[in-house]
């Protein structure tokens, strides 16, 4: 009888994709859904991990590091993304920074806070109006493929990208952990 290796979690998969793409810097403003990824990043000396006070700072730090030769990524939740349109429109877009955002999607599929729900509905219209590539990952099977391809596309095309983590991935049973 063969011994099956346990299925990797979405957080383990993303961490490996970051390494495969030589992304050594991670900035984030926390979110409970992202916690397993954040904990794993802090525990891994490969990564420099910075948690500033605001998402705008997280974007600025990653943009500065990129210009100095270090690839980075920034993690946030939906409400954090809602603080970013000015930085995206006046820094990331005009200077053509390959900013990769990982956004945990709050405010849908059973959220109990109206504020989260309303802010969630601003996310895709803002991404669309800024012409930013975005894709919501819903299945564990898709995590490695989508995250890896979106990161590669961002860096090769000098364009920002938003990898959205749907509650279907992070909350639905059997796929969250």
């Amino acid at each position: 009888m063969s011994v099956q290796s346990p299925v990797k979690t979405w957080a383990e998969m993303i961490l490996q994709v970051l390494k495969d793409n030589e992304i050594r810097l991670v900035t984030y403003v926390p979110d409970n859904v992202l916690r397993p990824l954040i904990d794993a990043l802090h525990a891994d000396p490969y990564f420099t991990v910075i948690c500033p006070a605001r998402e705008e700072e997280a974007v600025g730090i990653v943009a500065g590091a990129y210009m100095a030769g270090m690839r980075g990524i920034t993690l946030m939740q939906t409400s954090g993304f809602a603080t970013l349109p000015n930085a995206l429109a006046s820094l990331v877009r005009p200077y053509q920074f390959p900013l990769v955002m990982v956004i945990s999607e709050r405010g849908t599929l059973g959220d109990f806070q109206l504020g989260q729900a309303v802010v969630c509905r601003t996310m895709r219209p803002v991404l669309t109006s800024l012409n930013i590539e975005h894709f919501a990952i819903e299945r564990l099977d898709d995590v490695e493929f989508v995250a890896d391809r979106m990161i590669k596309q961002a860096f090769t095309t000098q364009e920002p990208a938003a990898i959205i983590l749907s509650p279907l991935l992070t909350k639905k049973s059997n796929t969250s952990h």
Binding site: A53, V59, I61, M67, G69, M70, Q96
Partner: protein
């Protein structure tokens, strides 16, 4: 200069100086290809007018993000000194970044704030520093012990030399007048980024 002498100057007793002159004093002291991030508005206009070094980055929008950008550069290249230039209005918009810098404590990062007490470019409406907010006190309270007001031009030069010797993170605030900037930055963001990336490539 002892630490207590360096830090003895209060905002009230700091001389009101000229931003363009102080920017040129800074640039004259840059001998090791230090990176400089110029914040939005007159701050980067005067940096531009001081000579277009390839190691200069001119931030045309994203008010308040000069220090985070500089922190990113300083994190990626710990051997290179990095200077962030900000105005008082810009820093007031992103005060949390002082705590972020203190947490990371990069020895190679110098933050300089020009405090003229007004949003000069939008018609000189008063900022909070005109109502008693002391940015050096805020920087210290955020954990940046090496923070000081520049008493006068000579003191500014001395503070610069200390910070560029690697005693960072350092924070220098200078009171400035409302003279117009000495030039206007050419507004081509991609060219600015690419020139900067080539200027600090390792």
């Amino acid at each position: 200069m002892t630490s207590s002498e360096k830090h003895a100057v209060a905002r009230d007793t700091a001389r009101v100086m000229n931003r363009s002159d102080l920017t040129r004093r800074l640039v004259a002291k840059l001998k090791r290809n230090e990176a400089v991030i110029g914040g939005i508005g007159n701050t980067n206009f005067d940096l531009w007018a001081s000579g277009q070094r390839p190691q200069n980055f001119y931030m045309l929008g994203s008010m308040g993000l000069a220090i985070p950008l500089a922190l990113g550069v300083a994190t990626a290249q710990p051997q290179r000194h990095v200077v962030a230039l900000e105005g008082d209005g810009s820093l007031l918009m992103q005060l949390g970044t002082l705590g972020t810098v203190a947490m990371r404590a990069p020895k190679n990062l110098l933050m300089i704030v020009w405090d003229n007490g007004v949003y000069q470019i939008t018609g000189s409406q008063k900022t909070l520093t005109s109502h008693g907010v002391d940015l050096v006190a805020m920087a210290r309270a955020a954990g940046l012990a090496n923070s000081a007001w520049a008493r006068d031009e000579a003191h500014f030069d001395a503070l610069l030399e200390d910070a560029l010797a690697g005693h960072g993170p350092a924070f220098i605030a200078a009171r400035t007048d409302e003279a117009k900037p000495a030039g206007t930055t050419e507004r081509d963001p991609v060219k600015i980024r690419m020139r900067f990336m080539e200027g600090i490539a390792v």
